[in-house]
Structure formats: C-alpha cells, structure tokens
Amino acid sequence: SLCKSVIYGIITYRRRGQLAALSIAAVVIIVGVPLWWRTTETYRAWLPVSQINELSNLQLQLSAEVEVVFARGTVTPEQQKKVPLTQIQDEEHTVDEDTALRYRYETKYRTATIMEEDALNQPTAAEADLSLHTLSESPCGSLVVYVIPESSSLLPEDMDVYVGQRRTALLRIGAQMRVGKTLDQLLAHLEPRIKQVLQVMSFSHTDISAALSDRVRLSPGNKESIADSMRTFKSSPGYEITFSLLNPDPKSHRLHWDIEGAVQTYIQPLLTKLASVANFSIDSQTLYYAMLGVNPRFDSSLSAYTLHSDSLAHVINPVEARLGSNAASSNPVLNFLLYVPDAHHSPLYIHDRKKQEVPSNAFHSPRWGGIMVYNVNGFYGPEAVFPVDVNINMAKVMGVFLAQLRLLLGVQSSTAPSGFLVAPCGSNGLADWELDRLMWSRSVENVATATTTITSLAQLLEQIGNIVINDNIAEQVSSAVTSLQLAVAELETGNLRFALQYSKEAILASERAFFDPSLLHLLYFPDDQKFAIYIPLFLPMCVPILLSLLKIVSDARQKRREKQAKKD
C-alpha cells in the first residue's frame, strides 16, 4: 500500500487520464494499424515481371539448313573444285511494333557422291527418291536439293522440280545454264529457285504470319490463306477423333464396317507420326435412324437423288445434336461421319455449285470434321431380301477421311507453284517435309500464344491489386517463361524437334497459370463502398482518442501560458 500511495502520489489524477489516452493512441497506431494492414493484404507471390516484359517484344529467328548437291553434268570440273562452300542469308520481316521475324537460310553446296549418282540414275523420280533415302536420312527441319542436268529424264518435260516424300527435292537446272557460265552466275540462277523450294517444303512468310494470328490481328492476305487459317484447328495438346456410321434405314441395310482394323491400318500411322505434335484419342460409334435433315432432290436425268452444295450447310446441325462427345476432356473434337442413304433415297450424290458430281461424294466443315455419303444400292439387286448385309469398303472411305483429316490438321498445304511435281504422301499419310512444315508453324503458333497469355496475365495481375497470386501460379509462370526462352533459342539454332517440345511445355504451363481457378477477381470495391465499411468500425473508436489528444495539447498550451504568466 506504500507503493500504491507513492505511485498515486507521483501520477496525478489528470495525468493518469492523459497517459491513458496517449497509451491507447500508441497501441492503435503501433500495433493496430500494422495488424490491420497485414490481415487485409492479399498474398501475391513474386513473378518474373522483367523477363515477361522482355518476352512481350518477340524477335523470332527461324533457321533452316539446305544442302544443295550438284549431280554430274551440272558443274564443270573447274567449278567442282570451288564448290564445297556455305552461304548464310537472312531475311528480315517486321510484323508490327512488338513482333519481328528473321529467316536464316544456311545453304551448303557440294557435289554428289558416287552412290548418289547411282541413285539418280534410276528411271523415275519416285525410285530415285527412294534410293536416295536409303543412303542417308536428313535431320528434322533440314532439306536436301539435288540439282540435276537439263537433259535428265527423271522429270517430265514441263516440270522443273520434284518434291519427294521425305526431305529431298530434285531441281532441274535451267536451259540458260547450259554452257559457259561461271560459278557465281550459276549460284545466282539457283538462288531464287531454291528459295521457292524452301517456301513449299519448309516455311513461308504467309504460313508463319498466319501462325502469329493470336498475337497480331493481320489484315487479310489472299483469300486462300484466310480460308486455310479458318479451316485448320488451332494448336492444342490433344485432339479427339470420332468416326460415326449413320444408318437411317436399319430395316433395309445391315452395315458392317471394320473400323478398328481400318483405323489401325490407315489412320494410326499418320497419328503416330504426328505424336510429337499432339496426342490423339480415337473412338467410333454407330447411330441408327439418324436422318440428314435436308430433303434431297430427285434428278430424273441421272435417276438419282442429289444434294446441292447450298443445302450442305444445313446438314450438320441436326446431326450434331446426336453425336455426343467425351465428357471428361476439353480437347477439340474432329467428327467424321459416314452416311449410308436409306433404300428409298439411294443413290445420293453431292453436286457442287456448277451442278457437277463430286468424285469423293464428301464434304467437310472448317474446324469441325467431314461427312461422306456412301451409296450401297449397287451391292444388291431388286429382288434382294431385306435387310441386306453390306460390307463397307473401308479403304475407299478412309481415303476420303484421311484427306479431310490432313486438311483439318493443317498438314495439307495450298496449291504448289507451277512447274512443281509433288509426290503423293507415303503409306503413313504424311510426307516428312509436311511434318516439318507443321512443326514450324505449330512451334511459332505455340510461342506466340504462350507469350500473349503470359504478358496479358502479368498485365491483368498488375492492374487488379486484389487478386491473390498463389505460389503454384508463380511456379507455372516461371516455368512458362523458361520454356519460352528455350523454345526461342532452339528455333534460332534450327533444332526443330526441341523447339516444338519446349513450345508445347510453355503453352501448357501458361494456360494452366492463366486459367487457374483461384485467379478470380470478384473484389471490385468502389471507393465509396470501402469508406462505408471502415467508417462504422473505426470512427467511433477514434473520436474519443482524437478529442483527448486535442485536450492534452490545449492543456499543455494553457500550462505554458500560465508558466509564462508566472514568470512575468
């Protein structure tokens, strides 16, 4: 009690009140405000923002290696001594202020070896191509062009270039190079022609700029390139392919199709070859009593039913409702339908705009799939007993579906320039150089899409301060940035396979980061709402504190005045 009375004595009554007010103010400011700040801030993991900003300015370099081999009869012996030489050419294109492209062509010239000469002595170009392939295999992304003399019989008269099934081309030297030209003139003559071959077999500026469409909305080029870009599916890590057999008349036709065998023999080789580009899953189904939804017209001159091309657009929608799809995946679906017309509307032919019959009897829809009409009325006579068993010729059907699949995946290129003879694609439905073309455009498309995704994600997160950025998102973003840098570097050195792989990793990581469910911004608070929330909480508490502080200040001033008065 002595202590107490001492303390009470030291601290006067008024002083206690002032101390209480000051200590509460101190607790509010020192403990309360930081605590409130920490509990209301959002967790934002660190993002490599500087690297992302670097990526928004995309400078892509695509490198292609070409080997030009001179066969006997194209160079003179003196020129032959000078021939082993290498040239590097760069072509720059500026697409817009953030995107620039550079194409580097590394051309190595040499003369043919004896074994290659033997191979070139084959009677036809296709056989020559085959034996050249057995000698050596060119790595992914490179080309070999064999320059053959004008008198060579490998190519027909009006054709100058033969594009093989793998990565070789045969180029017939021009008539003006027959006699007395120097090596430089020869090279100058060959250069634009080799560039033309590269445009067909490797990458062309139109293809690459179409692949950049996600990043740059280009003004339309020629009509063919727009149609190509609208028709082919966008790059995706996986696709689903569904084969459907539509039988509207099971009472008349009992259809048998060996779909498993046909897929295994004809479609699977193509998909295996495309495994580095995407995963494919295939399923098949049979639909009974599925009508076309459009009434075909009877043409008495042909005594057959016809479907005009204008009505084809209305065929797809009624059927699509019945097709179904895999519930668990979000991959794009390619539908291939085989329609066997009912006995009363057989045979059914598709006519184009000029009222001409279409040999394939099939049509396709961009980014959707294809439909083929298969007439079976020729397999049975008028006295047949219904239902008739029909075995469908899968080779014919798959020939059409394979062509449509190539178009929809972007493998088929537009028409080759005049004078070019392109070999039909091999048994696996895909030439090596077509695969290379697809890999070039897919890598560029993936890189363009991933950079756009990452930069817009970074922009979005900066703009909206209330979104929580978890650690896993920061991880995905960092890995996407790393993969993108690697992909761009591999494209520069010309390692096409690695470039595609890194670009796929980049796009997977960037999509996962962008579409993460936790990045939902629901917290839009206008300022008046923020005030409305905080004022009832803090104002009643702060008013007594502020007023006591004011009282303390006015008391202190009064005391000083009194002291002054006392002194005086």
Binding site: M230, L312, N326, P366, V400, P424, T452, P517, L519, K551
Partner: protein, 363 residues
C-alpha cells in the same frame, strides 16, 4: 500424280469470320413471382436451338426451377404466352447450371474459363478465336449492377473486365450481349473490348416492364422486350438474311414503354452486314472435299484376343479429385461480437479513467 486442291469460291467465308456459335443464357432471379425471367430465358433458348445451335454449345443457367415449383398449377411446363399457348420448357431442355449454382462467381468462371478441372464439358464455354457468342442476361437490375439470386450482384465494371479477359485470350470472334432488366443500358456502358455489340431493354432511369399476366398461373409470364424479341425471332429461319439493324428496331417505345438501347461503337463490322443468324443460329461453312488419298494396303487383322477394356462413365471423370476436394477456403472473419466487445472495452477504459462525472473533460 498429286491432284491440286481446287478451293471453292469463298463467298461464305468472308462475310463473317466465325466458324462456330455459342450461347450463354442466364436467368438470375429466383422465387415464384419471377416466373417471367425463367420464361424469358427459355424462349431465347428455344429460338437459338431451333435456329441450329446444339445443346453442346449452349450454357443455360436458370436460378430457379419454375416447371417443378410447388406453386405451378401446370407442373413440368413454363408458358410464355397467356392462355397457355406456348410451352417453352418442352421435352429436351438441358439446363447446365441450376438453382444455387447460378452465382456471380460461376458466371464469371464460365466466361473467363477459370473452372476447376473436374468440371464436365457441358458446363464449359469452349469457344475459340472463331466463335461468335450470344450472351443473354435477364433478371432484376439497377444502375450499374445486376442482381443474382437476391443476395449478390455483378457490376458493370466486373462484366467489362470479364469480356476484356475473354478478348485477351481470344475466346471470341464477335460477341452479342443482350440484357433485359431495369436500367439495362447501364450494364454495357463500361465495355471497352473490341467486337462487342450490346442491346438492352431500357435506358438508365427507366424500368423494363412485364408483358402480360396469366390469371390461371397467377404471375406475369414474360417481359415486354423479350416477348417482342421472340416474336421477331419466330420469323427468322436458318437461311434468313435479316441483319442487326432489324434487331435494333424490335420493341419500339410504343410497345415496350421503356426505350431499348444498343451500342455498336466497339463492333468492327457494320451492323447492317451482320446477320441475325451469325449469332442466333449456327450456319456452318462447308467445303467440298476435292481430293482423296488412294489407299491400297489391305486392312491388318486386329488381334481378337486383345482384352476389350470397358470404361464406365464415371471412370472418365477425375472422381478422386471431386471426392477429395478441399473445402473452399473461407476468408477469416473475427468472431461475432468481437467488434461489439472491443467497443465495450474501450468505453469501459475511458469511463474508468475519467469517471462518469468527468466526461465533460473529454467532450
């Protein structure tokens, strides 16, 4: 030899740049007296299906079940015309988000694509850069917001940001936004992304009115704007050439009492060149397949002894992810009464320090 592909004359391709159509139709109100909002949405759903968009490309969100409501005198029906002329519920309605699943969060997740991996395909908007999307919202709204489920709201800023995120990820080619609520024009004021066209049933400060009640059912069946919109759409068939300028003339002030508004400054094409079927229908572009591949190999014999794996439907879905999903982390709030207790403590301290009689020193 390799046949060159003859490209057909590309007339269809260049009128619009889209290859597929999607529709997101949302009714945001619940309770029996908001019957007309469900009827609105279902009639737009019917028209869109009739014109060709399949169910797999429609995301239908209905906040309440009117057809099987206890107060519905005709169960399993939703009528849009009085005297029960037209049942818009039908036999093949596919509702993707129903009842309490229709929330602002789910709506924004559908638009931006940020759905959890266990979401099935039918609940996703899987559009790409060549998709034309129709978005139809109806319910109760105000100046700058739309009410969801009577407990939350979406603001026009959030909607504009969602569309911008869709544009950044190229999830649409062109987007038509129709809203039938009170003061609906305020919802499209804040849009800033390209290729958006918007229509609203009323201007800021005006109310959208309902059309007609049915005395047997006891509620209003449709809103005026959607009623006249439906009448207009009944005349459209898949090969119709009516364009957007005709759509802007739907429901003038004499019929609608409110003034419908539209916004086209963000739309890059001329609205007169945009067909109604570009958004409401699904007219596919078609090309004739001109070339085939000659396949000569005989079919391989598939080994019959290979075990046929059968999958059940549930195996395809990541069931373990769904079952073991962690509950959503709720934000921490201080316990109830905490703030009240805090005030009491502060007041007690002051009264103790100064005593009641000394309150005049403080105030």
């Amino acid at each position: 030899s390799h046949a060159a592909i003859k490209i057909q004359p590309m007339r269809q391709f260049f009128s619009s740049g889209h290859t597929n159509n999607w529709a997101v139709l949302v009714c945001t109100s619940r309770f029996w007296f908001n019957y007309r909002h469900v009827a609105n949405t279902l009639s737009v759903y019917r028209s869109v299906k009739r014109l060709g968009i399949p169910d797999s490309h429609i995301v239908l969100m209905l906040a309440d079940d009117m057809a099987c409501n206890h107060r519905n005198p005709k169960p399993a029906t939703v009528f849009s015309h009085k005297n029960m002329e037209l049942n818009v519920y039908g036999d093949d309605v596919e509702v993707d988000y129903r009842g309490y699943e229709v929330t602002v969060e789910n709506f924004l997740r559908v638009l931006t694509g940020r759905l959890p991996p266990s979401t099935p395909r039918s609940k996703r908007l899987l559009s790409d850069d060549r998709s034309n999307i129709l978005i139809y919202l109806t319910g109760h709204g105000g100046n700058g917001f739309l009410k969801f489920q009577d407990s939350e709201e979406i603001s026009n800023v959030e909607l504009a940001d969602a569309f911008e995120q869709m544009w950044q990820k190229r999830r649409y080619n062109e987007l038509l936004f129709i809203i039938d609520t009170c003061q609906g024009a305020s919802m499209y004021e804040r849009f800033y992304s390209p290729n958006l066209m918007a229509l609203a049933s009323s201007q800021v400060g005006e109310d959208s009115l309902s059309h007609q009640p049915d005395l047997a059912i006891g509620v209003h069946l449709m809103d005026r704007y959607t009623f006249y919109l439906l009448e207009f759409l009944e005349d459209i068939h898949p090969s119709s050439k009516a364009n957007m300028n005709d759509l802007f003339k739907v429901c003038p002030k004499s019929q609608c009492v409110s003034t419908p508004g539209h916004r086209t400054d963000l739309f890059l094409r001329d609205p007169g060149s945009a067909l109604i079927t570009d958004f409401f229908g699904s007219v596919r572009k078609v090309e004739i397949t001109m070339e085939t591949i000659n396949l000569t190999e005989p079919i391989h014999f598939v080994n019959e002894e290979r075990q046929k794996e059968t999958y059940s439907y549930v195996d395809q879905l990541p069931v373990s992810e769904i079952i073991h999903q962690k509950p959503k982390q709720k934000d921490w709030h201080p316990p109830d009464g905490f703030i009240l207790g805090l005030w009491t403590l502060i007041l007690l301290v002051f009264f103790k320090t100064y005593g009641m009689k000394h309150l005049k020193h403080i105030f």
